[in-house]
């Protein structure tokens, strides 16, 4: 009896193991694979690395050989959602001080002036306003994460 064609689902354990080995062999930090509506993202290394942002300019990088070292998928702004991006670089804090409550949580409504977080740069704390109106549907960073310019912090659903 002919052997059935091998399943090559991205979630096959052997396939995942193969991918991990390939990553180590080729010194890749991140692999992001999609198969129809399924997706797997493997990230190597314990350190927090800042996800390379999605390229928006008209500057395509030259064809690199080998693997699909894709950018970590930045959550998309679309017709129903906005993203609040960090205007500066530093350490993100979700609350005004350690003993206080978070500035905002999922489900909160915000207006452009609502302070949503702090980003600390050089011991100076910058209050970051929402800049848009809507409801917070997703908080994309954790307190004390390193953030940089244009990094998405919050996903807002437009009112």
């Amino acid at each position: 009896m002919a052997k059935a064609k091998e399943e090559t689902s991205v979630f096959d354990v052997n396939k995942v193991r193969e991918l991990i080995e390939l990553m180590e062999e080729h010194d890749l930090n991140e692999v992001d694979l999609k198969q129809s509506d399924q997706r797997i993202r493997l990230r190597r290394g314990g350190e927090m690395t800042v996800a390379p942002p999605v390229v928006r300019t008209a500057a395509p990088v030259s064809p690199t050989p080998a693997a699909p070292a894709a950018a970590a998928p930045a959550p998309a702004a679309d017709d129903n959602h906005d993203l609040i991006l960090s205007p500066t670089i530093g350490t993100y804090y979700s609350r005004p001080k350690p003993t206080a409550k978070d500035f905002v949580k999922v489900g909160d409504k915000v207006t452009p002036d609502t302070i949503v977080c702090l980003v600390e740069a050089m011991k100076m704390f910058n209050e970051i306003p929402a800049g848009v109106s809507g409801t917070i549907v997703e908080i994309l960073v954790n307190s004390e994460d390193a953030v940089h310019v244009d990094m998405p912090l919050f996903r807002i659903s437009k009112n």
Partner: protein, 449 residues
Amino acid sequence: MYNRILIANRGEIALRIIRACKEMGIETVAVYSRADKGSAYLDLADQAFCIGGERASDSYLKIDRIISAAEIGNAEAIHPGFGFLSENAQFNEVCRDCNIDFIGPSPEAMQMLGDKNTARSLARKADVPVVPGSVGLVTDADQAVKDAREIGYPILVKATAGGGGKGMRVAENEADLKNAVEQAAQEAQAAFGNGGVYLEKFINRPRHVEVQVLADQHGNVVHLWERDCSTQRRHQKLIEESPAPTLPPEKREEICAAAVRMVKAADYSNAGTVEFIVDKDHNFYFIEVNARIQVEHPVSEMVTGIDLIQQQIRVAAGEKLAFSQADIQCKGVAMECRINAEDPDKNFQPCPGVIKQIHIPGGMGVRWESHVHAGYSVLPYYDSMIGKLIVYQPTRTQAIATMIRSLKELRIEGIKTTADFLVKVLQCEDFKNNKIDTKWVERDFLSQK
């Protein structure tokens, strides 16, 4: 030795520094503006942070963001490259205050040498010849006239806070002097926020010769011989070479020794360049010190075999120089051409655009230093230099031949560059026979076409 260094720069020099760090096992943190997002060289850094908008003032010049990037990136030191904040004493001090090593001289040495007039005074003290000129800034019109008579016309009026050829005017005679002083002061005030000017004797048809120096933090100072950068257009260097082809051997020794004296007098550490102007009798006069690594540093690297960026890092980390002056020989001839995204047929107008294809020359004695690649977008926000082509051969004749050959081999499609123009300069008899001076390109070469 450092575990991690942040590179406060972009493009070609950022790539150069990343490479040096990788070879030393040092991790790198890169910063980039929105305009530089997606540049391939950023992938070579261990971490890369966006620090702001396209304009340098909104990104590469933002001290707080750069320091912040160093903090969140855990960088112990910052290499400033050239341009941007590399000669900013305030940035240097901020680094020190934040316990981050600045890879360069101390803020004090940088401050002292950054003021041209103070640097000239220091040169006099160090027995380094300076261009005959006024002892201080011009404060009084009558004194200026007296000084000018003593110095001798033509007189060059120069801004003390100046650079890049701005805030300079030539007065051919006493009648021109008052206007020249006023105009130079006005331009200097606008460009540098400091209208102070001083007078210098205008040297006719000078050559520009500079000395590469390197000093550690233990008092050891060496030179890596000299470079001749006389091929310029509007005070911008086009071609640099080492050794200086017109200086007799004893003058080379003298000018290099003078540079070392200057550096010692300023208590300077790390890499730097002492610039001189040379007249047709080979008399050299101190102009200024560039307290940073320079664009044309690869030229000195080729003739001495010393990696200057790695040396900068070692010195900053507190290491003693591993060699003495006697160990540093100048062998062969190295030459560099700066490749700019400019259209020579349209008065060197900058040519931003996407590089569709690039073919990089190779072969014996060819070194290409550039961050660009096929698909790279050359942007209008930064200077127009997209790469440096360096050649190294046993003789100057061979170096010129290799440079011409590799410039012709270099093909960049999608934007205009100065490569073909440089070929024509190199083919000129005046260039080959060392008849050029710092104004030759504008005065003789371009007027022929």
